[in-house]
C-alpha cells in the first residue's frame, strides 16, 4: 500500500478544506458586498469606490439555478481520467450571498436527481490525482447528503 497522498487544493485560496468547507469570498470593506471568486483590485459595484477587501466565508448552502451533465471529454487543461468519466455540473445560487456559483456535482448524483430550486451544500472532493498529490476542488451535493 502506498502512503496516503498529500491533499492540496487545485487552486489556492478559493475554498477551505475543513469538515464544513466553504468558498472564500471577498468582502468590500466600503460597501460590504461579498464577491466570489475573491477580488483584490476594485469593488465591482460601479457606485462604490472601495479598493480594500477582507476574506469572508460564503454561505455553504444554496439552491440549484440550473444543471447539466458533460458527456464529452473537455480539452486540457481539464485533467481527465482515462477513460473519460462524465460529470454533472450545477449552477447554485448561494443562500444569503445571492451569487450563482458553478461547481461539479459529486459522483453518484445524476441530472435526474436534480431540480431547479433544490437545496444543495458545498463539499470538497478530488478533482484529479497525480504521483504526488490528490488535487481538491469544491463540489456541490444535495443538502443533507453528508453524514
Amino acid at each position: 500500500m502506498s502512503p496516503a497522498k498529500t491533499r492540496v487544493p487545485a487552486v489556492e485560496g478559493w475554498f477551505t478544506i475543513d469538515d464544513a468547507p466553504h468558498l472564500v469570498g471577498s468582502r468590500c470593506t466600503t460597501c460590504g458586498t461579498r464577491f466570489f471568486p475573491r477580488r483584490d483590485i476594485a469593488c465591482a459595484d460601479p457606485s462604490c469606490a472601495g479598493r480594500e477587501f477582507e476574506d469572508v466565508a460564503l454561505a455553504r448552502t444554496g439552491k440549484v439555478w440550473s444543471y447539466t451533465e458533460n458527456r464529452y471529454q473537455p480539452p486540457p487543461p481539464y485533467m481527465s481520467p482515462d477513460p473519460f468519466v462524465p460529470y454533472v455540473i450545477a449552477a447554485v445560487e448561494l443562500d444569503d450571498d445571492k451569487i450563482v456559483v458553478l461547481g461539479q456535482v459529486v459522483a453518484g448524483v445524476g441530472v435526474d436527481d436534480l431540480k431547479v430550486g433544490m437545496p444543495m451544500e458545498l463539499t470538497v472532493d478530488t478533482l484529479f490525482e497525480d504521483d504526488e498529490a490528490e488535487h481538491l476542488v469544491w463540489k456541490w451535493q444535495p443538502a443533507g447528503a453528508s453524514k
Binding site: A10, V11, C31, G32, T33, R34, F35, F36, P37, A44, D45, P46, S47, W65, S66, Y67, T68, E69, N70, R71, Y72, P74, P75, P76, P77, Y78, M79, S80, Y87, I89, A91, D96, D97, K98, I99, V100, V101, L102, G103, Q104, V111, K115, V116, L127, V137
Partner: protein, 400 residues
C-alpha cells in the same frame, strides 16, 4: 445617445467565403470575402480609405493584427487600419469602428473583414498555465466547456417555461431547412427530429445536433457614407441604422461564459434589463425602431435552445413564449418574423470573427431581395444579435 437617420451609413457591398472545414490559412478566406465585397460595392481596393479587421486568437500573430494582415494581403497602399477583438462580437465591433470613422468624416469608404480557421472539437483556452485567467480555470477546475453553459440555459428554459428537447430540435430542423438554399452554408442538408434525437448527448439536455460546430469562413463588408453611396449610384443601398456594443450592467445576475459565478444580487438592485435584453434594446434605441418594426432577424444560435432565448431578448415575444412562436411557424421563412433565414450557426458553424459580419451580409441580401430561395418577402428592417464571452454585446439594425 440619439441616432436617427442622420447617423446612418450605407452597406455598399458584402461578400463571404463559404463556411466549411477547409483547413487553409484564414487570410485566404478573408481575402476572398473582401474581393467579393469590393466587387459587389463596385469599388476597388484603391478606393478603400480605411480597413477594420476582426481578430482571431487561434491563428498566431497575423490573427491579432487582422486589419494589417488583410491590408497587406490586398497589397500595402498606406491605408489606415484598426484591429479589434471582442470574442464572438468582434465583427460588430469592427463594423462599429468603421462606422464611427465614416460618421466622424474621417473617411468615406471602409472595408471590414473577419475570417477564421478553427481547430477540431471544443474550443479550448489559449495554451500555457494561466491560473489568473478565468477561461483557463473554468476548464481546469470544472471542465466547463462552452456547451456546458448552453446546456445550463437550456435546462433552465425547460424547468421555468416547460420547453422540451423536441422544441430545441425543431429549431435545428427549421434552421437546417433555411440553410439548404444558402451557398455559403457549411451544412446544406435537411435534418429531422429523429436525427437530432439520435445524435449523442454532449451536455444534457443538448445533443450534438443542437450545438453549433466550429468552422472556417470569412465575411467582409464595404461601408460608406450615405453621400458617397448616392454619388456612387447606390442611393437605395441598405443602411446601417444602429450598432450596439454594450457591456453588462452591474449586477449581472445571469452566469456568462467563461465565468464561475455571477455578480451578487443581494446588495445592489439588478438593472431593469438583463444583459441579453439590453443588447438589442440599445440598438432599437439608437435606430428609433422597436421589435414591431423588425421583419427578419439573425440571432446567435450557438445552441438550438439559445435561439429561443434570443426571441425574447430581442423582443419578438414575451419571456416564456418563444416555444409558441417557434411552433406557430412565426420564425420560419414565410412566417411573421423569420429568424435565421441564412440557416444560422446551425447551418454554418461558428467562424468567430466573421460571424457577426456574416449576419449583416445575410440581412443585406434579404433587404435587397437577393436571397434566392431563402428570401424573406418584403423585408425592410432586420436585426442581428450576438454575444461574445467576457461581456461583449453585439446587435446591428439594418433598414432599407
Amino acid at each position: 445617445m440619439s441616432g436617427g437617420r442622420d447617423s446612418e451609413v450605407a452597406v455598399l457591398g458584402v461578400g463571404m467565403h463559404p463556411w466549411g472545414k477547409w483547413g487553409r490559412n484564414f487570410v485566404e478566406y478573408g481575402l476572398a470575402a473582401a474581393g467579393d465585397a469590393l466587387t459587389d460595392a463596385g469599388v476597388t481596393w484603391d478606393d478603400i480609405e480605411f480597413v477594420s479587421g476582426a481578430d482571431t486568437i487561434r491563428n498566431g500573430y497575423p490573427g491579432f493584427i487582422s486589419g494589417a494582415t488583410f491590408a497587406q494581403a490586398l497589397g500595402w497602399r498606406g491605408t489606415p487600419i484598426a484591429s479589434c477583438y471582442a470574442a464572438c462580437a468582434s465583427g460588430a465591433q469592427a463594423l462599429e469602428i468603421a462606422r464611427m470613422r465614416i460618421l466622424a468624416g474621417m473617411c468615406d469608404v471602409a472595408l471590414v473583414v473577419g475570417a477564421d480557421t478553427t481547430p477540431k472539437g471544443f474550443f479550448a483556452p489559449v495554451g500555457g498555465d494561466r491560473p489568473d485567467d478565468p477561461d483557463w480555470l473554468r476548464f481546469r477546475l470544472l471542465g466547463a466547456t462552452n456547451p456546458t453553459y448552453f446546456a445550463l440555459y437550456a435546462r433552465r428554459r425547460m424547468e421555468l417555461f416547460g420547453a422540451t428537447v423536441d422544441d430545441f430540435a425543431r429549431v435545428k430542423v427549421k434552421n437546417a431547412r433555411h440553410g439548404l438554399a444558402n451557398p455559403n452554408a457549411r451544412y446544406r442538408k435537411e435534418v429531422t427530429l429523429e436525427e437530432v434525437a439520435a445524435s449523442p448527448v454532449v451536455a444534457d439536455p443538448l445533443r450534438l445536433l443542437d450545438i453549433c460546430a466550429t468552422s472556417d469562413g470569412g465575411a467582409a463588408i464595404v461601408l460608406s457614407s450615405v453621400d458617397y453611396a448616392k454619388s456612387h449610384g447606390a442611393a437605395d443601398a441598405v443602411r446601417v441604422a444602429a450598432i450596439s456594443t454594450v457591456t453588462p450592467s452591474y449586477p449581472n445576475t445571469l452566469i456568462d461564459m467563461p465565468m464561475f459565478s455571477t455578480d451578487p444580487a443581494n446588495v445592489a438592485a439588478p438593472p431593469p434589463l438583463s444583459f441579453r435584453d439590453s443588447i438589442a434594446a440599445a440598438a432599437y434605441d439608437q435606430a428609433g425602431l422597436g421589435p414591431d418594426d423588425v421583419n427578419v432577424a439573425e440571432v446567435y444560435d450557438l445552441s438550438s435552445a439559445l435561439e429561443l432565448d434570443w426571441y425574447e431578448n430581442i423582443g419578438l415575444c414575451k419571456e416564456g413564449e418563444a416555444e409558441r412562436l417557434l411552433n406557430d411557424g412565426d420564425t420560419t421563412i414565410g412566417g411573421r418574423v423569420p429568424v435565421n433565414p441564412s440557416g444560422g450557426l446551425a447551418s454554418f458553424g461558428e467562424a468567430i470573427p466573421a460571424q457577426a459580419i456574416a449576419q449583416v451580409c445575410e440581412l443585406t441580401w434579404q433587404l435587397r431581395g437577393q436571397a434566392g430561395d431563402r428570401q424573406v418577402e418584403g423585408a425592410r428592417v432586420g436585426i442581428t444579435v450576438n454575444q461574445g464571452l467576457f461581456g461583449h454585446g453585439s446587435s446591428v439594425i439594418v433598414r432599407k
